[in-house]
Amino acid sequence: MNVCYDNIQTGDMMPPYTSLPITRTHLVRYAGASGDFNPLHHDESFAKAIGLETVISHGMFIMGIAGEAITAWIDNKCLRKFSVHFMGMTQPADLDDFENTKGRATITVTGKVVEKFEENGEKRIRCDIIAQDALGSRKLSGYFIAALP
């Protein structure tokens, strides 16, 4: 990656990143990889018992997808801070009704550089980010700070 401070302007957009439609299998894989086995994310009977229609994604899976978006643009080692506020639940796509449910499960992450500044002897940017599904429902908002060469 060749993102450098002098070539970035306030107002520049981060290249958008779109996930595959999230399935229950993706949630199970994420549960295993992260160690977060809250049954809310894989067990339909638990989700229903607490009043939800179906299982929902880990918020941290959506933040992880946002991390994929960021590190497709900025090197991991440049990141100084990454902070998000979760705004909405994400239901996975239903495989028996994929065409009608994939939109709610497809996450697009966008970002916009809002500040350039120097701190701790480094040239840094702050970039606000939003993750939303294909229907426009917001999943998280937040920002990252990166030190750029």
Binding site: I22, G32, I50, M60, G64, E68, N76, R80, S83, F86
Partner: protein
């Protein structure tokens, strides 16, 4: 309901070795790949990582979410300790501050505590009252340098 006497509670120190295969597995989950052979090279190949300026394969930015689950007794071990109710739990915020790269092979020490507990809204207004708990984790490397600070905020609705 969260037990306010737990404010300031320090979890037992967690120790973990950052494992190469665990990084690849986590990267595969996030990038929705079936095989760890399909993740970005930087997450599976040491030479690629070194050529990009790391001492070894780096972690994805949200990889530290697993530290607490792997060292503090899993999700239920954590929520039992703070007296929360899993049927009411929602994750509301997550924040990472990165002070130095974390890479495969690093031996880390994680210190997690209950940093804050407070309420929002009024109890008599159903659906408008939340109890909030903030967990803060500081992660140190083998040289005892602070490499990461994480703050996890969850609410009970």
């Amino acid at each position: 309901m969260a037990d306010k006497s737990k404010l300031g509670f320090e979890f037992p120190t967690g120790y973990l070795r950052v494992e190469k295969n665990k990084i690849a597995e986590f990267a595969a989950a996030l990038s929705q790949k079936d095989s760890t052979n399909d993740v970005k090279r930087i997450y599976r190949d040491e030479d690629t990582a070194r050529s990009e300026g790391y001492i070894n394969i780096p972690i994805p930015p949200t990889f530290p979410t697993g530290f607490a689950f792997w060292t503090a007794g899993g999700l239920f071990g954590i929520i039992d300790k703070v007296g929360a109710d899993v049927t009411k739990l929602l994750h509301s915020e997550e924040e990472y501050e990165y002070f130095a790269p974390i890479c495969a092979g690093d031996m880390l020490t994680a210190k997690m505590k209950v940093a804050d507990m407070y309420e929002r809204g009024r109890k008599e207004r159903k659906g408008r009252y939340f109890e909030i708990t903030v967990l803060e984790t500081e992660v140190f490397n083998e040289k005892n340098e602070l490499v990461l600070r994480a703050r996890t905020t969850f609410v009970e609705r």
